[in-house]
Protein backbone atom coordinates (compact mmCIF):
# COMPACT_ATOMS: atom_id res chain seq x y z
CA UNK A 1 0.00 0.00 0.00
CA UNK A 2 1.57 3.24 -1.10
CA UNK A 3 0.60 6.84 -1.70
CA UNK A 4 -0.59 6.12 -5.24
CA UNK A 5 -3.45 3.89 -3.98
CA UNK A 6 -4.92 6.74 -1.99
CA UNK A 7 -4.42 9.21 -4.81
CA UNK A 8 -6.28 7.02 -7.31
CA UNK A 9 -9.10 6.47 -4.79
CA UNK A 10 -9.29 10.21 -4.21
CA UNK A 11 -9.45 10.89 -7.97
CA UNK A 12 -12.25 8.32 -8.38
CA UNK A 13 -14.26 9.82 -5.51
CA UNK A 14 -13.78 13.32 -6.93
CA UNK A 15 -14.99 12.19 -10.38
CA UNK A 16 -18.08 10.58 -8.89
CA UNK A 17 -18.74 13.87 -7.09
CA UNK A 18 -18.40 15.80 -10.37
CA UNK A 19 -20.93 13.48 -12.01
CA UNK A 20 -23.33 14.00 -9.09
CA UNK A 21 -23.05 17.79 -9.22
CA UNK A 22 -23.60 17.90 -13.00
CA UNK A 23 -26.30 15.23 -13.38
CA UNK A 24 -28.60 15.97 -10.44
CA UNK A 25 -31.47 18.46 -10.33
CA UNK A 26 -32.33 18.30 -6.65
CA UNK A 27 -30.38 20.98 -4.74
CA UNK A 28 -29.96 18.68 -1.71
CA UNK A 29 -28.44 15.93 -3.85
CA UNK A 30 -26.06 18.40 -5.52
CA UNK A 31 -24.86 19.35 -2.03
CA UNK A 32 -24.33 15.68 -1.13
CA UNK A 33 -22.17 15.21 -4.24
CA UNK A 34 -20.24 18.34 -3.22
CA UNK A 35 -19.51 16.70 0.13
CA UNK A 36 -18.06 13.69 -1.71
CA UNK A 37 -15.69 15.99 -3.60
CA UNK A 38 -14.58 17.71 -0.38
CA UNK A 39 -13.86 14.30 1.14
CA UNK A 40 -11.80 13.31 -1.90
CA UNK A 41 -9.67 16.41 -1.34
CA UNK A 42 -9.29 15.53 2.35
CA UNK A 43 -8.13 11.98 1.56
CA UNK A 44 -5.48 13.46 -0.70
CA UNK A 45 -4.33 15.97 1.93
CA UNK A 46 -4.09 13.38 4.69
CA UNK A 47 -2.39 10.82 2.44
CA UNK A 48 0.30 13.35 1.57
CA UNK A 49 0.60 14.24 5.25
CA UNK A 50 1.10 10.58 6.17
CA UNK A 51 3.59 9.73 3.43
CA UNK A 52 5.54 12.99 3.32
CA UNK A 53 8.14 14.38 5.70
CA UNK A 54 7.15 14.25 9.34
CA UNK A 55 7.90 17.96 9.77
CA UNK A 56 5.20 18.75 7.22
CA UNK A 57 2.67 16.18 8.44
CA UNK A 58 0.91 18.65 10.76
CA UNK A 59 0.33 21.05 7.84
CA UNK A 60 -1.66 18.51 5.83
CA UNK A 61 -3.80 17.47 8.78
CA UNK A 62 -4.47 21.06 9.90
CA UNK A 63 -5.57 22.05 6.39
CA UNK A 64 -7.86 19.00 6.35
CA UNK A 65 -9.38 20.23 9.62
CA UNK A 66 -10.00 23.62 8.01
CA UNK A 67 -11.64 21.94 5.00
CA UNK A 68 -13.99 20.05 7.34
CA UNK A 69 -14.77 23.29 9.21
CA UNK A 70 -15.62 25.15 6.03
CA UNK A 71 -17.67 22.17 4.80
CA UNK A 72 -19.74 22.30 7.99
CA UNK A 73 -20.31 26.05 7.59
CA UNK A 74 -21.17 25.53 3.93
CA UNK A 75 -23.75 22.84 4.70
CA UNK A 76 -25.41 25.09 7.28
CA UNK A 77 -25.66 28.01 4.87
CA UNK A 78 -26.69 25.90 1.88
CA UNK A 79 -29.45 24.23 3.88
CA UNK A 80 -30.77 27.67 4.91
CA UNK A 81 -30.74 28.74 1.26
CA UNK A 82 -32.54 25.53 0.19
CA UNK A 83 -35.19 26.03 2.90
CA UNK A 84 -35.75 29.63 1.74
CA UNK A 85 -35.89 28.41 -1.87
CA UNK A 86 -38.50 25.80 -0.97
CA UNK A 87 -40.59 28.37 0.91
CA UNK A 88 -40.53 30.86 -1.95
CA UNK A 89 -40.87 28.46 -4.91
CA UNK A 90 -42.21 25.22 -3.37
CA UNK A 91 -39.44 23.36 -5.15
CA UNK A 92 -35.83 22.33 -4.65
CA UNK A 93 -35.24 21.81 -8.36
CA UNK A 94 -32.28 23.90 -9.51
CA UNK A 95 -33.91 24.24 -12.93
CA UNK A 96 -36.56 26.42 -11.28
CA UNK A 97 -33.99 29.01 -10.18
CA UNK A 98 -32.55 30.05 -13.52
CA UNK A 99 -33.48 33.75 -13.28
CA UNK A 100 -29.82 34.78 -13.31
CA UNK A 101 -28.96 32.38 -16.13
CA UNK A 102 -27.60 34.20 -19.14
Amino acid sequence: MSLIHFQILSAALFSIGIYGVLARRNAVLILLALELMLNAVNINLIAFAAYGELAQAATGQVIAIFVITVAAAEVGLAMAIILRLFRDRSSVDVYDVDVMKW
Binding site: S2, H5, N26, L32, N42, A58, A72, L83, S91, D93
Partner: protein, 163 residues
Protein backbone atom coordinates in the same frame (compact mmCIF):
# COMPACT_ATOMS: atom_id res chain seq x y z
CA UNK B 1 -0.67 -9.00 0.02
CA UNK B 2 -0.57 -7.74 3.58
CA UNK B 3 -3.45 -7.04 5.90
CA UNK B 4 -3.47 -3.26 5.54
CA UNK B 5 -3.82 -3.59 1.77
CA UNK B 6 -6.83 -5.91 2.22
CA UNK B 7 -8.39 -3.40 4.62
CA UNK B 8 -7.65 -0.60 2.16
CA UNK B 9 -9.42 -2.40 -0.69
CA UNK B 10 -12.42 -3.25 1.51
CA UNK B 11 -12.77 0.37 2.63
CA UNK B 12 -12.29 1.60 -0.94
CA UNK B 13 -15.10 -0.64 -2.19
CA UNK B 14 -17.44 0.57 0.56
CA UNK B 15 -16.46 4.19 0.00
CA UNK B 16 -16.80 4.19 -3.80
CA UNK B 17 -19.90 1.99 -3.70
CA UNK B 18 -21.57 4.38 -1.29
CA UNK B 19 -20.53 7.34 -3.43
CA UNK B 20 -21.98 5.76 -6.59
CA UNK B 21 -25.15 5.09 -4.59
CA UNK B 22 -25.31 8.76 -3.57
CA UNK B 23 -25.20 9.99 -7.16
CA UNK B 24 -27.40 7.21 -8.61
CA UNK B 25 -30.09 6.68 -5.96
CA UNK B 26 -33.58 7.78 -6.89
CA UNK B 27 -34.63 8.17 -3.27
CA UNK B 28 -33.24 11.29 -1.58
CA UNK B 29 -33.26 9.72 1.90
CA UNK B 30 -31.35 6.69 0.62
CA UNK B 31 -28.79 9.03 -0.97
CA UNK B 32 -28.24 10.80 2.37
CA UNK B 33 -27.82 7.51 4.25
CA UNK B 34 -25.46 6.15 1.58
CA UNK B 35 -23.41 9.33 1.95
CA UNK B 36 -23.05 8.45 5.64
CA UNK B 37 -21.78 4.95 4.67
CA UNK B 38 -19.26 6.44 2.25
CA UNK B 39 -18.04 9.02 4.77
CA UNK B 40 -17.58 6.43 7.50
CA UNK B 41 -15.44 4.38 5.09
CA UNK B 42 -13.39 7.54 4.53
CA UNK B 43 -12.99 7.76 8.30
CA UNK B 44 -11.58 4.22 8.23
CA UNK B 45 -9.16 5.33 5.52
CA UNK B 46 -7.97 8.13 7.81
CA UNK B 47 -7.25 5.51 10.47
CA UNK B 48 -5.28 3.57 7.85
CA UNK B 49 -3.31 6.77 7.23
CA UNK B 50 -2.60 6.98 10.98
CA UNK B 51 -4.61 10.19 11.37
CA UNK B 52 -6.63 9.23 14.45
CA UNK B 53 -7.81 12.75 15.25
CA UNK B 54 -9.14 13.32 11.74
CA UNK B 55 -10.96 9.98 11.84
CA UNK B 56 -12.64 11.06 15.07
CA UNK B 57 -13.53 14.48 13.66
CA UNK B 58 -14.91 12.83 10.52
CA UNK B 59 -17.28 10.63 12.54
CA UNK B 60 -18.36 13.52 14.78
CA UNK B 61 -18.87 16.20 12.12
CA UNK B 62 -20.14 14.16 9.18
CA UNK B 63 -21.85 11.32 11.04
CA UNK B 64 -23.20 13.42 13.87
CA UNK B 65 -23.90 16.80 12.34
CA UNK B 66 -23.96 17.06 8.56
CA UNK B 67 -26.01 13.94 7.80
CA UNK B 68 -28.57 14.89 10.46
CA UNK B 69 -28.90 18.43 9.06
CA UNK B 70 -29.31 17.05 5.53
CA UNK B 71 -31.99 14.59 6.69
CA UNK B 72 -33.83 17.39 8.51
CA UNK B 73 -33.86 19.54 5.38
CA UNK B 74 -35.02 16.57 3.27
CA UNK B 75 -37.93 16.12 5.67
CA UNK B 76 -38.74 19.84 5.73
CA UNK B 77 -38.63 20.27 1.95
CA UNK B 78 -40.52 17.02 1.31
CA UNK B 79 -37.95 16.35 -1.39
CA UNK B 80 -39.22 12.81 -1.94
CA UNK B 81 -42.08 14.27 -3.92
CA UNK B 82 -39.57 15.28 -6.57
CA UNK B 83 -38.27 11.82 -7.32
CA UNK B 84 -38.98 12.06 -11.00
CA UNK B 85 -36.74 15.06 -11.44
CA UNK B 86 -33.54 13.06 -11.03
CA UNK B 87 -33.57 12.79 -14.81
CA UNK B 88 -31.36 15.62 -15.97
CA UNK B 89 -31.01 16.16 -19.73
CA UNK B 90 -27.23 16.65 -19.41
CA UNK B 91 -26.45 13.37 -17.66
CA UNK B 92 -24.55 11.97 -20.66
CA UNK B 93 -22.33 15.04 -20.74
CA UNK B 94 -21.87 14.64 -16.98
CA UNK B 95 -20.63 11.07 -17.40
CA UNK B 96 -18.18 12.13 -20.11
CA UNK B 97 -16.91 15.03 -17.96
CA UNK B 98 -16.51 12.90 -14.84
CA UNK B 99 -14.73 10.15 -16.76
CA UNK B 100 -12.48 12.68 -18.48
CA UNK B 101 -11.51 14.24 -15.16
CA UNK B 102 -10.74 10.81 -13.72
CA UNK B 103 -8.56 9.80 -16.68
CA UNK B 104 -6.72 13.12 -16.51
CA UNK B 105 -6.10 12.85 -12.77
CA UNK B 106 -5.10 9.17 -12.96
CA UNK B 107 -2.68 9.87 -15.82
CA UNK B 108 -1.10 12.72 -13.85
CA UNK B 109 -0.85 10.59 -10.70
CA UNK B 110 0.70 7.61 -12.49
CA UNK B 111 3.10 9.85 -14.41
CA UNK B 112 4.13 11.47 -11.14
CA UNK B 113 4.55 7.94 -9.71
CA UNK B 114 5.11 8.63 -6.01
CA UNK B 115 7.02 5.75 -4.44
CA UNK B 116 6.70 6.54 -0.74
CA UNK B 117 5.61 3.48 1.19
CA UNK B 118 6.45 4.53 4.76
CA UNK B 119 3.64 6.04 6.77
CA UNK B 120 4.35 8.22 9.78
CA UNK B 121 2.06 8.85 12.68
CA UNK B 122 1.44 12.33 13.97
CA UNK B 123 0.39 12.42 17.62
CA UNK B 124 -2.46 14.48 19.08
CA UNK B 125 0.13 16.57 20.92
CA UNK B 126 2.06 17.58 17.79
CA UNK B 127 -1.16 18.34 15.93
CA UNK B 128 -2.45 20.51 18.79
CA UNK B 129 0.88 22.30 19.06
CA UNK B 130 0.88 23.04 15.36
CA UNK B 131 -2.75 24.17 15.40
CA UNK B 132 -2.20 26.69 18.20
CA UNK B 133 1.21 28.01 17.17
CA UNK B 134 1.81 28.00 13.40
CA UNK B 135 -1.87 27.98 12.52
CA UNK B 136 -3.26 30.11 15.35
CA UNK B 137 -4.45 32.98 13.12
CA UNK B 138 -6.22 30.77 10.52
CA UNK B 139 -7.76 28.86 13.44
CA UNK B 140 -9.30 32.07 14.80
CA UNK B 141 -10.44 33.06 11.30
CA UNK B 142 -12.14 29.64 11.01
CA UNK B 143 -14.13 30.38 14.17
CA UNK B 144 -15.16 33.71 12.62
CA UNK B 145 -16.23 31.88 9.44
CA UNK B 146 -18.42 29.56 11.51
CA UNK B 147 -19.97 32.51 13.37
CA UNK B 148 -20.74 34.37 10.15
CA UNK B 149 -22.19 31.20 8.57
CA UNK B 150 -24.39 30.66 11.65
CA UNK B 151 -25.74 34.23 11.62
CA UNK B 152 -26.15 34.13 7.84
CA UNK B 153 -28.08 30.85 8.00
CA UNK B 154 -30.45 32.27 10.62
CA UNK B 155 -31.01 35.48 8.63
CA UNK B 156 -31.65 33.59 5.38
CA UNK B 157 -33.97 30.94 6.83
CA UNK B 158 -35.96 33.33 9.03
CA UNK B 159 -39.61 34.06 8.25
CA UNK B 160 -39.88 37.49 6.67
CA UNK B 161 -43.44 38.02 7.96
CA UNK B 162 -42.19 38.62 11.50
CA UNK B 163 -40.80 42.05 10.59
Amino acid sequence: MNLSLVVFYLLSVVCLGGAVGVVMSRNVVHAALLLLVSLMAVSGLYLLLLAEFLALVQVLIYGGAITIVVLFVIMLTRAQEFRSMSANPQWRLAIVTAFGVFVLLAAAIIKGAPTETVRQSLGFKELGNSLFTDWAVPFEVASLVLLVALIGAIVIARERDVE
